[in-house]
Symmetry: C2
Subunit: 312 residues, 2 copies
């Protein structure tokens, strides 16, 4: 039967786009003695130590009507913005504010539409943190050419780029990256207005805005928001805005209410195997391995922390 | 006042992410005698002949409960699939079927979940059309390196890649591109099940699936669909599926009910100026021009056809 039944339809799509295990097909030669693995096999074989549990002090829970968005803060790239957003969250600044913009294939943005809410112990604006010294960063590089930067890879689970000639490094605008809106003055941002990338990576924004974190879980609560019909995706009517129930540091939330998220460590052999499996897909469905991978086409895997084994 | 009022907030965001005209700032040197333009200025100055109105015979209207999606078919790349999808549309095959999958940062997919609907004069499956000869195509190339292919650019408004060494060319998986799902057999697709890219370009699918069109208007009706909670974003319950009211060729729709869409011609000096403006953003907000552009970060502009001038 050629046209898939619903089961076959699911199988078709599993094979169309899956990271799922599937029989191996003609594959690139494996290193001597090593059988190449699919990305699903790599993750299934990963050791517990290949995963890192997010630090509650560096994690934000943004509660939307549809559910929780988990954002990891990226202090390596924007220490002052991260400290400021943490102070805003600790002071409940974003609670009761709203998403006021959703531009298709671009960004969702939230903050105080009236611009008058007190910031408490936080700052309204901060000096820009668009880039930083490459020195001191462990950039796990990807092997392929990038359209925009001399080098790309990951610092922890944050996608990043570097220019060895200038000795500078910066976080890059991949899907799910969170940044601080600003006005024309480079130092006019600070974190009171935030945006997240919901479409093709707008890499032309790299080094033009301070990126300060990454959504590691719950992107679907942001990416499905109705697109605004005003200019640049702003909601034309206040009642269209999506309320933010709360926006808190995980460390300010009782432990039993936390979401324990783990991300794959990128400074591991397991991650290298994962990259290899994504550069050349081995699943039977694939006929032409890409042989390359874009930094924004390789989200670092995240998962809920597995329950500890029961006591013996 | 540093924190924007609602008006200032809009202005901030206009400047954050806009293609809008703004005062020029430090800009790359312009060709002698030519002042560089922003992309908004390029489009504002485009001649009527720089725009091409879609041919109703190559255009699909997919009517969802929230509105119309306009898909241009790409016969240069997949002539048999385009003919088959046209036959399916002409025979009302998709009317009453449904979107059954929405996977975040990946694809939305629709078709016949039961796989039993007769296809009429169309075919259930077709030989794959993953690539074609480069010869005979007018690939308007982009100047920057691409991670995945030796050459990238546009054929009409379809993003495409080419390998001069092999003499082959293929459409690429950018946001909004529409393809024909298939099973493991490369010739098991045909267009009865279709998908559209709703996130970061999954370029590893290039040359592995037949791409047959591009959404030129109405992507927001697809990109906001609730993500399925089943494996790979399938809706777990039939009632979650999003019904397709109709899926018709524009030429099968009465003229007064058509949406006349125009796309910017890419084989023009205007498009070259547009590419230049997108590679190096001149708006005052930008501080570090990217100097490069990715083929999937450059959607070809589309608009509704302007009303003809009133009779004299």
């Amino acid at each position: 039967m050629k046209l898939p039944s619903i089961q076959a339809g699911r199988a078709l799509s599993v094979l169309l786009l899956a990271a799922c295990a599937a029989p191996l097909s003609a594959a690139p030669p494996a290193p001597a003695g090593k059988k190449p693995l699919t990305s699903a096999e790599v993750l299934a074989q990963a050791a517990p130590s290949d995963w890192r549990t997010l630090d509650p002090a560096d994690t934000i829970y943004m509660e939307l009507p549809s559910g929780r968005v988990v954002i990891e803060l990226a202090a390596e790239f924007a220490p002052r913005h991260v400290a400021n957003v943490s102070a805003l969250a600790h002071g409940h600044y974003f609670d009761g504010l709203a998403v006021m913009r959703a531009q298709d294939n671009y960004v969702v943005q939230w903050g105080d539409a009236d611009g008058k809410k007190p910031v408490g112990d936080a700052q309204r604006t901060l000096p820009a943190e668009f880039e930083r010294p490459l020195r001191g960063l462990n950039l796990v590089r990807l092997p392929d050419a990038d359209t925009y930067a001399p080098q790309v890879g990951f610092v922890g689970d944050i996608p990043a780029a570097a220019d060895p000639a200038s000795g500078r490094a910066w976080a890059v605008h991949c899907y799910g990256m969170v940044g601080a809106g600003r006005d024309n003055d480079v130092d006019s941002g600070g974190g009171t207005e935030l945006y997240v990338v919901i479409g093709q990576a707008p890499r032309h924004l790299d080094r033009n805005v301070t990126l300060l974190g990454r959504v590691v879980l719950g992107m679907e609560h942001l990416s499905v928001l109705p697109r605004g019909t005003g200019a640049l995706g702003f909601y034309e009517h206040p009642q269209e805005r999506v309320p933010i129930k709360s926006f808190h540091l995980a460390s300010d939330v009782p432990p039993q209410e936390r979401t324990e998220v783990q991300v794959l460590r990128t400074d591991t052999a397991t991650f290298q195997a994962y990259v290899a499996a994504r550069r050349n897909r081995l699943e039977e469905w694939f006929k032409v391995p890409a042989g390359h991978i874009d930094v924004c086409n390789l989200p670092v895997p995240a998962r809920l922390r597995p329950a500890p084994p029961p006591p013996q």
